[in-house]
Amino acid sequence: MRLNIIRAVFFLLVIAVIISCQNQETIDLQNYISSGKDIYKAKCQNCHGENGEGLGQLAPPLTDSVFLKRNKNRLACIIKNGLNEAITVQGKTYKEKMPAFPELTDIEVAQLMVFVTNAFGNNQGFVSYQQVSSQLQQCK
């Protein structure tokens, strides 16, 4: 009987350890997403919309997963430095200038990027602050 209890406890312990290990990245992801959401509301939502739907042909929607995936390595630079070139999103051309957000820190850019690429029907997983930091140093 006692042995059984010890076994059961041990077994549960092992499961708990496994779950917590698996969840470290999920926890980071959730943290980034929740901070990123606040930054999105403050800095991006007025143009890109509450649901990332964009605004006419003034601001592109953020729901084009293909565009986001293809430009994955540029997203951090676009967020921080803005964009001044025509882009094609979901088959439509957008020519308006996107403003720069130099006030955002590297970690904030990372949180924002993780939020956007995992919201509005996108599901591209986690990007760490270190990766974003090194991307930002290579902005053109």
Partner: protein, 216 residues
């Protein structure tokens, strides 16, 4: 028996009172007002209240056509102040206003008037591009360009919306995001913060109320 008749009668009276109240609901008047002595049709002198009135104006619209206050004659309209390169409150204001525009697109008695406060860059061609990209076509929503003086004075003195140049602001200008509701007699009947969905919703409900005041 008498009691029943009495209670039914008082009930009816009460409901009719409630109904008459809701039907007579009038939007408030904003701004300065003063009393003036006027003569009515019969020539009898009486004292009347004169409400703040939007003065005459003349600007260029998004098609570079001279447009005056005559365009608003016989219409209830919503006015606001913005500029095309604004990245802060304007996109939200116009996203919300777009919703109202769509709702009243088919009503010939409703008009939309947006004044740019960027007298340097927002020439009619820039306004036209902006309107098209926002998804607005046609004369139902006017985008107006005018000199700094005329637009800023109109904003602050007549529509009671604060506007200004500010070199410390991100986009170079600061302004309030009010959507101002004007009646057919050019009086201010409402001001709604265009960045707040609940206030924009109220504007959407107030426009039919205002239109109803003219139905006799």
């Amino acid at each position: 028996m008498n009691k029943i008749v009495f209670s039914v009668a008082s009930c009816l009276l009460f409901t009719s009172l409630i109904f008459s109240c809701t039907q007579n609901k009038k939007l408030p008047y904003y701004g300065e007002r003063h009393a003036e002595t006027v003569r009515d049709a019969a020539g009898v002198e009486k004292i009347d209240t004169v409400y703040q009135t939007i003065p005459n104006w003349s600007f260029l619209n998004q098609d570079s056509v001279v447009t005056t206050n005559k365009a608003t004659d016989g219409k209830v309209y919503v006015a606001d102040f913005f500029f095309t390169s604004c990245t802060t409150i304007c996109p939200t204001m116009h996203r919300n206003l777009m919703d109202i525009y769509t709702a009243f697109k088919g009503n010939p008695d409703v008009l939309f008037v947006s004044h740019t406060i960027d007298f340097k860059y927002d020439k009619p061609s820039a306004l036209k591009k902006y309107a098209q990209k926002l998804g607005v076509d046609g004369p139902k929503w006017l985008f107006l360009y005018g000199s700094k003086d005329s637009v800023y004075t109109l904003a602050e003195k007549s529509y009671l919306v604060a506007v200004g140049e500010d070199s410390t602001a991100k986009d170079g200008y600061i302004h309030q995001g009010y959507l101002v509701l004007i009646d057919k007699d050019k009086h201010i009947r409402g001001a709604y913060d265009g960045t707040k969905p609940e206030e924009v919703e109220k504007l959407k409900q107030d426009i039919p109320l205002l239109l109803a005041e003219y139905k006799k």
